[in-house]
């Protein structure tokens, strides 16, 4: 990948994070959080996106982000109250911004009209009557420019003269004001590749400037961190522009510096004096520095430590270098290891801002290729198996359990388990990333259906395997859609029913006995059971006279081809029903259940494994082979009795379980491990539930036990094998196959059909 594309990719990744933060912040504000840090975080998110987008010349994005940012700035500055209405517009603006980011990333286009209307809405929020100055954009200048140091580094006296040649000077009008700007960059400013000289040049465009460097924070060379930032600048700017124009110049570095802009009238009292003393300081400091350099060149480095402490003002020899040398030596290329106390006390004002910045960086993360993590997981899995084998061999070798070797192995076992858990945890992510997408969905669907809905999420921090998270989005989206479209009633109906006008959809996640349980509930009308039954009969899914319990009726909605919407709406009625949801949940090794109370709403509960890398299985023996049957499919196990097993013609047999006849499937024959039918009386039957909700009994020779197994792909090095879901490695190091229960059951039906057809053809 060429470096630019790589940077761009990083930018888009960061955009996603910023967008998430933006939405979270706006939602927090909607929830009544008016903390300035939240407001700032929101502003910062949009700001960063704008900055990055500008660097990549993503003009549409920049334009919208700018309008958005301006609107947010009004809130930040307290010019605009964060009322619910305002926040609603901002949330929608956040959605559009997300669209724009994705469009820029994928090279697609966005709904221009929507962007424009929202941009207009945002402008309308402007308390100054919506006069958004278009030319504000002109301050966004990301073009690479040749830096002319001469203009800035020259002595103060030459400044004006130099400017004349450097750029068309803006002649300050009579109404020009004098501003004193105190500007002190932090190391992060330089780390982000900003250049102070460029800022000064931009300032120069505003009017007449005088720049003085404040090098009082400059440590001695021995203590200088090459990447630190020690210099500050006092800038006097005579301009007819207002303070905002000046702030615009510092727009992109505002978070990485201490900036103070004062109207000279107010600042007059101290600023000029500072100027004088500081330039003198510079002389002294530079002199001290030079002397030190000379000293260290001549003497042992250790000796320089002593004068370094006392350095500074005492040792003021006549300056050898011009004072202007100091500003030239911008610290970033060469500066500090230990933060200097002097520097810290010098910037008490920045402490809070710095703390805020620390908050943002609270949890440092790294991006790692999933492949690498998976390789690690594989290796650790192998380590666990190897360790188990080793333990077994040691025992077999007749070593006592209390022997040093056996005890060492026990410790190793604990260690390997811990490593396994930790490695698995790398793949685990909070469900937040999925939950975060839902507020937007709720807003959109609520708007489309004309319903008023509030989404409450809970347990966003619950962690689950990344793959589970990825595959959770679709079913969850669908369920939320359903909850709003079918569950929550229209405002009128709700009021008539004595409920709050605003519907409530709850989305929660929690860990429960080694699985993650996700609930989607609404406080709507609940499942309309008579209607559900009616439709099921209409569509031929159940017999007209079928007697169903409430629970059974509710479960009808999971049947393929079922849709209860009176008319097919473009929200839920997309040809995918709850059967698809159920299937995708099952594909993840999970289960889904409904509970519904008429008039009070419905709750869908999904229970999913925490990881797809391991599976709870029942280890069984079939024709001398060891197989694993996923525990999620098994309803119960039983020992068939002679009186329960009945032949059904051909090789087909059924087993009677509590007076219900269930097909008996001989796994050994189904997987062609043997040709002779197994003796049911010497076997064990596993009652399993399949995808369609049907039940079958799988006949296996014996049950070895239950175990958590690590899932290994067969397809990676071979291909899919019908009837086998995957493979795993058992404690003895051998490969065992995991049975695909659905496929085995479906296959047995197909075979029976084929047999029937063959017989029919003969007859």
């Amino acid at each position: 990948m060429d470096p630019m594309a790589a940077i761009k990719q990083t930018f888009f990744q960061e955009c996603e994070e910023q967008l998430a933060e933006l939405e979270a912040g706006l939602l927090a504000m909607e929830g009544g959080d008016s903390d300035s840090e939240t407001v700032n975080a929101v502003f910062r998110a949009v700001h960063s996106i704008k900055g990055g987008a500008g660097a990549f010349s993503l003009d549409d994005l920049v334009r919208f982000a700018h309008v958005f940012e301006t609107a947010l700035d009004h809130v930040r500055a307290g010019r605009l109250a964060a009322t619910p209405d305002v926040l609603k517009i901002k949330l929608r603006a956040a959605d559009v911004l997300a669209d724009l980011v994705r469009a820029a990333r994928d090279g697609t286009t966005v709904d221009e009209a929507r962007c424009k209307s929202l941009a207009d809405e945002l402008r309308a929020l402007d308390p100054n009557g919506g006069e958004e100055k278009e030319d504000d954009l002109s301050t966004l200048n990301f073009q690479p420019v040749v830096v002319r140091f001469e203009g800035l580094d020259d002595d103060d006296d030459d400044d004006a003269e130099d400017e004349d040649t450097a750029a068309p000077i803006v002649v300050p009008s009579a109404g020009a004001r004098l501003y004193n700007i105190h500007f002190r960059p932090r190391p992060s400013l330089y780390a982000k590749a900003n250049e102070t000289a460029l800022l000064f040049r931009d300032l120069k465009d505003l009017g007449k400037i005088k720049v003085k460097c404040d090098a009082s924070g400059l440590p001695l060379l021995t203590e200088l961190d090459p990447e630190g930032a020690y210099l500050g600048w006092q800038i006097e700017l005579l301009t007819d522009r207002d303070e905002d124009a000046i702030r615009d110049v510092f727009e992109f570095v505002a978070w990485d510096c201490d900036l103070e802009i004062k109207d000279a009238d107010e600042a007059e009292a101290d600023a000029p004096m500072n100027d004088a003393s500081e330039s003198a300081d510079v002389d002294q400091q530079v002199a001290a520095l030079l002397e030190l350099v000379r000293a260290s060149a001549a003497d042992e480095p250790a000796e320089t430590a002593a004068p370094a402490k006392s350095g500074g003002k005492k040792k003021s020899k006549p300056a050898v270098a011009a004072p202007s040398a100091a500003p030239k030596e911008e610290p970033p290329p060469m500066a500090e290891v230990v933060p200097l106390p002097a520097k810290q006390t010098a910037q008490p004002a920045s402490a809070k801002a710095a703390a805020a910045a620390d908050d943002l960086k609270a949890a440092p993360t790294i991006r790692v290729d999933l492949d690498r993590v998976d390789r690690l997981i594989n290796l650790v899995g192998e380590l666990v198996i190897n360790q188990a084998m080793l333990s077994q061999r040691v025992l077999e070798a007749g070593l006592a359990r209390a022997s040093a070797v056996a005890m060492g192995l026990d410790e190793l076992e604990q260690l390997t388990r811990e490593i396994q858990d930790s490695v698995m945890a790398i793949r685990a992510q909070p469900v937040k990333s999925v939950f975060q997408r839902m507020p937007r969905l709720v807003r959109e669907i609520a708007a489309m259906t004309g319903k008023s809905v509030r989404l409450v999420t809970d347990g966003e921090g619950t962690e689950v395997d990344k793959t589970v998270i990825e595959r959770l989005t679709d079913p969850l989206t669908h369920m939320i859609r359903n909850a709003i479209d079918h569950g929550v009633e229209s405002p009128e109906k709700r009021i008539a029913a004595g409920k709050a006008e605003e519907g409530l959809v709850r989305l929660s996640a929690q860990h429960r006995s080694g699985r993650i349980v996700i609930e989607v509930s609404d406080d709507g009308a609940g499942i309309n059971r008579p209607r559900v039954k009616e439709i099921a009969v209409e569509k031929g899914l159940i017999a007209a006279d079928a007697v169903l319990s409430d629970e059974e009726t509710d479960n009808l909605i999971f049947l393929p081809g079922f849709s209860t919407a009176q008319e097919v709406s473009d929200i839920s009625g997309r040809g995918v029903g709850m059967d698809v949801v159920k299937r995708s949940i099952q594909a993840l090794g999970g289960r889904i259940a409904i509970s519904s109370r008429p008039g009070q709403g419905s709750t869908f509960t999904m229970s999913l494994p925490l990881t797809l890398a391991v599976l709870d299985g029942m280890v069984v023996t079939v024709a001398q082979q060891t197989l694993v049957v996923p525990l999620t499919a098994i309803v119960e196990t039983l020992q068939p009795k002679a009186t329960d097993v009945h032949g059904m013609g051909g090789n087909a047999r059924v087993i009677s379980i509590r007076n219900k006849f269930t097909p008996l499937i001989d796994v050994g024959r189904e997987l062609s491990y043997r040709n002779t039918p197994a003796d049911p009386l010497a076997s064990v039957a596993l009652l399993v539930e399949t995808e369609g909700g049907g039940r079958s009994a799988l006949l296996v020779d014996a049950i070895q036990g239950q175990r958590q197994v690590v899932i290994k792909s067969l397809e990676a090095n071979y291909r899919h094998v019908h009837g086998i879901a995957a493979a795993t490695i058992l404690g003895d190091g051998r490969v065992a196959l995991i049975v695909d229960v659905d496929a085995v059951v479906a296959n047995s039906h197909a075979e029976a059909d084929a047999q029937d057809n063959a017989l029919a053809a003969v007859g």
């Binding site: 792909s713 090095n717 490695i729 490969v735 196959l737």
Partner: protein, 155 residues
């Protein structure tokens, strides 16, 4: 072998192995490792030449009985048999052979075209033959062994 100096100049390194009385070879770059035979877990509904799968450091590795694949009687593996772990495209596969015999460095010109007498089956996999020290060694193209396996198995 006899003139290593010359052969290495433009030579190609091949790994020779035995199946029954015959000798074959594959490009050594495809060979990842060689390990002793371990009993494989049989795979249902697979062709006879797929002996099953084994655990290769956490990965599930299919074992191809090359003898059966080339139309010879299926191998009856003993502890002396070896599995050549080879890379074919993105997949890693184990080939069950009787023994690994040699590493050859040969020039492209010493590979002769497959004689017509060979069976159809052998023709599909044998890319050429080498005459070395009076022995005949058939060069096997791995990429041809496996896709055929896949389509046949899928049928």
């Amino acid at each position: 072998m006899s003139e290593p100096g010359i052969e290495r100049m433009n030579g190609r390194e091949l790994m020779a192995f035995r199946i029954g009385a015959q000798e074959f070879c594959v490009d050594i770059m495809a060979v990842r490792e060689i390990r002793g035979f371990a009993p494989a877990t049989p795979l249902p509904q697979s062709p006879a030449f797929v002996r099953g799968v084994i655990n290769l450091r956490g990965a599930v590795l299919p074992i191809i009985d090359l003898s059966a694949r080339l139309g010879f009687p299926p191998a009856e593996p003993t502890a002396r048999h070896v599995i050549m772990v080879v890379q074919v495209g993105k997949q890693t596969v184990g080939l069950l052979v009787d023994a690994v015999s040699d590493i050859l460095t040969v020039g492209a010109e010493s590979i002769q075209p497959t004689p017509d007498v060979a069976s159809e089956m052998t023709k599909n996999f044998v890319r050429g033959v080498l005459a070395i020290d009076g022995r005949m060694i058939s060069l096997i193209a791995l990429d041809n062994v496996l896709p055929a396996m896949e389509s046949e198995a899928a049928a």
